[in-house]
Symmetry: C2
Subunit: 547 residues, 2 copies
């Protein structure tokens, strides 16, 4: 196991002296930097066991390939292992990869683990194997957009509004800061004091108490004063909701990020953390049965607050399903998060991101300004940029993530390319996005849940997205299986694009930044979303079967 540090500076390390090869090398090192990766010794970047390469031998072979390849060579990677180098041409991608894919009938964790143990495949989540992870900023921004869109739609803005949730873990910990950035008040329960303190120490959470009544009055006072802040409460989510219902306090927004997907991780009402840990060890069956009733009650309380007017949604933790299985028949009256992501996907909007490959924070800040001037009418974006500048600590190479849509990505990309060419930035920039995007994923329990036409399980779309980015000459392109919802449940695609100031890279980037969100617009237009059809018509995407 090596210790990897992100590579910075303007000196090139690859023999070709070509940023199209130096770029992937730096992004591979970046995602394994210990500021970024969850478990770098085991090459794990994030999300359970999402790896950047299959093994350290494979890592070394990828590195030495990139170091010695010529500018028209293409490296082929199969589940994190470099399996061939072919000579194509400068116009083609420099790396193509397919990770964790199985023939459908064999697509389950058991088969996967067997093949993994034999060294034939490995798991790469979405942005881990595609060398596109940027640390917690990604989660923060995703949460910001989801809650921000919900607020915009229902209240205009989150200012003077109260959002209630629970869970301050890896994902859930982004909630208080995202709410604060949006100008609202967050009241979040967690049963684990250490998680609360950790969020206080990293400034993701402003204040906390172990007194539920006090927490509620603090929150209501802040709401009254329209003060943007966040309050943690050391309590079970169910206790907090029970008190809200009893006191007649209805939050404006309501959700949950306890680990409900795993009944042995969810802490049942009535048990302290210590008691819970003991019971889990001594009598797991009893634990699961307690957790199950607790989750049923949890959802019943959410439904009651929803009836009283709280805008309520499920945040991808499977809480509804657990409650439904425990007998709460109307659990699915609570909509999923796609309720708020879908409208963005409809216009090809999704988590677009970039990194300064030379490691220069000022390049990010300069581009923050460029964004603000290009998209000044997008208030949520402007608010994000100003807040990100203030709160986001870079991990590894400096990065920024923003939701941009069809047209916007190409406009911004072109501006950046010209700035690189004119020497107005310290050096080349990398662009990419999460696989969780508008046209790049088929995942019927998450991103493609409840498509208007019932096409949730159709898998052609991410394949076509992958083909279009590959045909466009993105610096690298990735096809993955199992990200987010696990082996069997999703297929998805991503890319990395190095904008180095050359004409060729700019041409490639313009194609990629057009076809990539374009495939999302088209996917939604075909599913019958009227806004997508309008966007396609207005912005000139040709759809033969509808012309």
């Amino acid at each position: 196991a090596r210790r990897i540090k992100a590579i910075r500076g303007r000196d090139l390390h690859v023999r070709s002296l070509d940023w199209q090869l130096e770029g992937p090398l730096r992004m591979l090192f970046h995602v394994l930097d210990e500021e970024v990766a969850k478990d770098p010794k085991n090459l794990i970047v994030y999300g359970g066991t999402g790896k950047a390469a299959r093994s350290w031998d494979d890592f070394e072979a990828i590195v030495s390939s990139l170091m010695t390849m010529e500018s028209d060579d293409t490296l082929v990677i199969q589940s994190g292992q470099p399996i061939a180098i072919f000579k194509l041409d400068k116009r083609a991608p420099r790396v193509v990869m397919s990770n964790a894919m199985l023939v459908p009938k064999w697509a389950d964790w058991r088969t996967f683990r067997e093949l993994e143990a034999r060294g034939l495949i490995s798991f790469h989540q979405m942005t881990a194997g595609c060398w596109a992870y940027i640390g917690t900023q990604g989660i923060l921004q995703g949460t910001y957009e989801t809650i921000g869109y919900a607020a915009e739609r229902h209240f205009g803005s989150l200012e003077g509004r109260l959002m209630v949730s629970a869970g301050l873990g890896e994902m859930g910990g982004a909630q208080p800061l995202a709410v604060k950035m949006l100008g609202g008040v967050a009241l979040i329960a967690d049963v684990d004091r250490r998680m609360i303190e950790r969020r206080i120490n990293t400034a993701y959470l402003d204040a906390w108490t172990d007194d539920v009544d006090k927490a509620i009055s603090m929150a209501l006072a802040a709401k009254e004063k329209r003060q943007a802040t966040s309050i943690g409460v050391l309590a079970n989510a169910v206790d907090l909701l029970e008190r809200l219902v009893r006191e007649g306090v209805t939050p404006d927004l309501l959700t949950d990020q306890t680990p409900a997907h795993d009944p042995l991780a969810y802490v049942p009402q009535g048990l302290s953390l210590e008691e819970a840990n003991k019971l889990k060890a001594s009598d797991p069956d009893k634990y699961v049965s307690l957790a199950s009733s607790s989750m049923a009650k949890h959802v019943q309380l959410m439904l009651e607050l929803q009836r009283r007017g709280a805008v309520t949604f499920d945040y991808g933790n499977n809480l509804r399903k657990q409650a439904f299985d425990a007998g709460v028949e109307d659990a699915f009256k609570i909509p999923g998060q796609m309720e708020f992501l879908r409208p963005m996907f409809e216009e090809g909007r999704g988590p677009f991101r970039w990194i300064s490959l030379t490691g220069e924070p000022n390049d990010i800040y300069r581009l923050d300004d460029v964004l603000l001037s290009l998209f000044e009418r997008n208030a949520r974006l402007a608010r994000w940029i100003r807040n990100a500048h203030k709160y986001v600590k870079f991990q590894g190479l400096p990065a920024r993530v923003v939701y941009l849509g069809y047209g916007e990505r190409a406009l911004f990309g072109k501006t950046v390319s010209q700035m690189v060419r004119r020497g107005e930035l310290n050096g080349p920039m990398w662009f990419g996005r999460d696989h969780l995007d508008s046209g790049s994923v088929a995942s019927p329990y998450r991103e493609t849940e409840a498509m208007l036409d019932g096409s949730d399980a159709i898998g052609d779309w991410p394949i076509l997205n992958y083909a279009l980015n590959t045909a466009s000459g993105a610096t690298w392109t990735c096809f993955h299986h199992g990200g987010g919802t696990g082996i069997g449940y999703s297929i998805h695609a991503g890319f990395g694009m190095v904008v180095d100031g050359s004409e060729l890279a700019e041409e490639k980037a313009m194609r990629v930044f057009t076809v990539d969100p374009g495939s999302g617009v088209v996917r939604h237009a075909h599913a019958g979303y009227p806004k997508s059809l309008r966007v396609a018509r207005e912005r000139g995407i040709r759809i033969p079967i509808m012309d």
Copy 2:
């Protein structure tokens, strides 16, 4: 429903006057020509319900897209429906498609049929949706290669050898002619007189009788005289094998192409065709039970002949499995057809094919001569060409299929490109291949059964093959699901490449004809096949992790 005829001649129909767009148009018409397609009214080309386009509206939209696109436009097709046109550049493919793909957990026929009924997906087999089907020549040549390789390995040549099989249907009907082309004697049973007569009428079969003893003595006499011929016998396969065992006649090669995959299609021993049809209607359960015992006996007889020295193999009709389920424990002592295809796949060899886009048969014949001079040391290839010239009737546009491997495809492609440029052929040529090829398919019950390292179910390989051909700029590229073994059981990729004499097309073709078989060599090298590793080393394919 339109009536489609293949387009011939040198006049261009597309507005761009570009063969890179005229080519796909002509291939779409070709596969739907009634000489080629099985059920052109329903857009079905072959293989059950393998379609060329989802519906006639989609067909029309594809046609008018190709007619009006510019030379740097790319058409995107999702399960036979044209969903977008994006402007890329001349260097990119002109069409990319993904057909019949589902998210793995949803990948079964029931879900597929539901989504199909809602107009969201359709089935495209391997070469139907990819516009690369060439009629029965493909089957004939595949059979020729499989049997030819088996003979070469075990006997040096098939001359003076007897092959016994059964089934003269859509696939099986190719057996007698393939054996004759290889210089051997074929003795084939079929229970249906009309099928036998049809094969006689099309010259796929030389003679027939309804007397098993007579058929055996005719076959032995021809073997004695080393006469290349084929004999049909109107009999049940089990009756024929029983007689061979009793008389002590051991064939040199033994296989079967009765429809054993479907117990209601397989005719049980002891029933005439009429009796079988009656019983099927009146008591299907009894029919299936009779078929099952008959198949058990069938395989026991094959095992006995195998013990006596017959080179015996299963030809992909699932007969072994049926017998195994009926109690024949050692049924899998009979190897599958991959026994003879695998060694070819190991060096990237597989069914490469081309078509004269102007419809000129002489272009095919000229290229037959070119092949003979380029690969004069390949005796099986030379024999195929000479025989194909004699026996193969063109269907739709004139075509030729040949097994060529890594290096050979590029050499031949370059020669053809230069002939087109110099005007030595009537016009542009199309190149493609079956998806059943060395690096392009993952199908654990057929093409990737029993891989040396157990990687049968790994799905990354066809994705990478698709990516490489797309990155290389093939005229069109296709990713499909479910061909051959059905929804859930296979994923695979293909392409079409129009060689129009231009420098650009030649560059693209050289890349495609290199990376495509190259990905097969690499796939097998990683699975541990020594020959593949040797081929990679000798012919300069770089494999980073093994260097």
